[in-house]
Amino acid sequence: MTMQSTELILLAAGSNAALITFLLYTLAVFGIAAFSNQMLKGKSFISEYFLGSRGLGVWAFALTFAATSASGGSFTGFPSKIYSHGWVLALWIGAYVVVPICTMGLLGKRINQVARISGSITVPDVLRDRFESARFGLMAVVLIVFFMVFNLVAQFKAGAMILKTLLSDVEIFHRAAEFFHTVMEPWSFLGTDSEYLICLLAFGIAVIIYTTYGGFHAVVWTDVMQGIVMVVGVLIMLPLAIMMINDLAAKDASSDASGMSYVTQEMSKLVPPVPTEAQLQVNSPAATDRLIATGTWISTESAEGTLRLFRTGNDAEIVAGQQVTAVDAPIKLIELVNASDIKQVLENPSSYTVVRDLQLVGLKQTPYKYGGSPEHKGTYVTGPGPSPDSDIGFLPLSLAFSFFFMWAISGAGQPSSHVRLMAFKNTDTLKKAIFTVAIYYTLIYFPLVMIFCCSRLLMPGMEMESDRIMPAMAVFLTEGVGMGWLAGLLVAAPFAAVMSTVDSFLLMISSAVVRDIYQRNINPYASEAKIKKMTYTVTIIVGTAAMLGAVNPPQFLQDIIVYTGSGLAACFLAPTVFMLYWPRSNKEGCMTGMLCGFAAHFSMYFLGVFTNGSFFKPHRFIDMDPIIVGLFVSFLATYIGCLISPAPPLRLVKKYFYKRKELQRT
């Protein structure tokens, strides 16, 4: 197989490191699970398994909170967006300046206290006990399971895709995939991508086993390890990226800038590549079938004699005896239009192989709707950033506001965060953990923006597979400074991010079924042994079902993650805020708010089917994200619902808002 691009060549070089890292990593995770299982002994099983007996210290609490929040999106989708849209991503992620203090501080102390007063172990438990309403608890369970199951399937797919990228050039992996392919043939429902399936099985089985065996403590301590891997990965990448940029700047006689100044100056001159569709043609009929792989660089000459450089976005084949690829399957390409990008590719033949014997016929070019014309230079260093499909750019003002809500406020409404807020030991732990997460996010998110702005200059032409920019950049940087072995650690970061999210969600669904449905509604007197057996069984069943759901995964991965995350916030934030801070709140109002939040958020997506042609292209009321509509409706409905329904029992108000006499005596 001929390597056609720099990232594939380098990925191959670093792949063994990736495989070894993955194996070591998995071993470490199993070790933590075994240790956690030992901790279950001698304690209340359900409290220890689902909540760690409310005993999390600073590091465990801070890193599990941070790692669970930073899903695969932080290390795949976010770098991809920085690469595609430039510096405006600093504003897109800008709310992270206050995310730690908002998501942990707004509700943390109070939800922990209320959960202790009521003895609650899960989020539906808190709602149920706070209002003494089993119906409310069940409603919360249904919504959590609905959203989390979809999210879990999407996260399983993300984990498998990342693993597939990491192992893409490991020989033994390909052999296993070939064997698997023959085994899969009679089972058409398993699909045709045997590499993906192997990765899904490896990823899924590992997560299911360690989560089932170790419970909450396993999830927390693997999160800690994963959180450390993430921050170390980013902190190593930043100086490496700047070193590589300095090398590039030193070769550029037209500029005396270096480091990030060079990056910004050069980015200000860039124009996005031009998305193109064409057929590929050779000069004479091919003697044998000729495969042109995804990522092949193709150089042609225009009628005026100027050089043009394209990169393929999918596989193509010229059949023996033919001169062109099939008419009914045009090849997707991009054309680089910046002199500096073209120079970077052409002047590095050791890294980039350029094919020169192919012509492009039936060329159809669709420039970016925003930022696509040469007079639009500078869209990578200004807002709203280039966009291939929106004529108002990537981040118009209304969306910038929406994302400030999305990250900070809706982040505070995630049940997966609430569970962690119920698990810390005391207020001192909370204070130190907020500070720790603030520093942690500062060290991760802003450096990521800098690193992947550098990647725009170092690795041009990745637009069509920008989701792979993180592992590709990790390998590129480490090979560039002669430390290929380091690639394994760096590429483990996105994998760790997905794993830490999946295990948390898996445990949440399992706790919803065992604790909130079975123990609290069907069999309150079930023995601990029975609960234990059921917990293990349910965790395995839920994990396996989600894994099977990801065998033929949904197409809109990132969209599902956004829909479920914002939907959970639209349902849970307002009732949670009111139940914690407003003594007049009652079950009628909070249940109304939860349902109205769900309905308003869902209706924006449903309207998208009619206005934008897809459920995952939601209708944007005055250009705002559906989360704004969902939160607004939910808060308003909860408030009005509480006011027009009877006041809550005084006994409940006293229990959750007034000082106990015993406390006075002590």
Partner: protein, 117 residues
């Protein structure tokens, strides 16, 4: 099923256990939540308008103002507020937030009782 069994407890059960004073943890948490919400509002009102006014529709982007190697609007609109927010977090966590008692959960009480025995 025990769905309805919790919806009809006696109105005055356990009332005698409580004083007429609001729980200090609740009062402090609410005050702290208001401060945090204000911090979010300040961040929103600074970051988004500042970036919009200085980083959107720039007349000559090829000669964009650069500070510390980044577009100046990113530095003053995001990076500096980020540092300011971290300083605020330090102040809030270590000098403002109260060390409130979070109480003892039933299972913790049971564990204490078991140790006592």
């Amino acid at each position: 099923m025990h769905i309805d069994s919790m919806d009809s407890p006696s109105e005055n059960d356990g009332m005698e256990l409580y004083t007429d004073q609001l729980d200090p943890t609740f009062v402090n948490s609410r005050r702290e939540a208001v401060i945090i919400f204000c911090a979010w509002l300040v961040a929103l009102c600074w970051c988004v308008p500042f970036c919009y006014l200085n980083g959107y529709d720039v007349a000559d982007p090829e000669n964009i103002s650069i500070t510390l190697g980044m577009p100046s609007w990113v530095v003053w609109g995001i990076a500096m507020p980020w540092i300011a927010a971290d300083v605020f977090t330090v102040w809030f966590c270590f000098f403002y937030m109260k060390n409130d008692d979070l109480g003892v959960s039933p299972e913790e009480l049971a564990a204490i009782a078991a140790e006592g025995n």
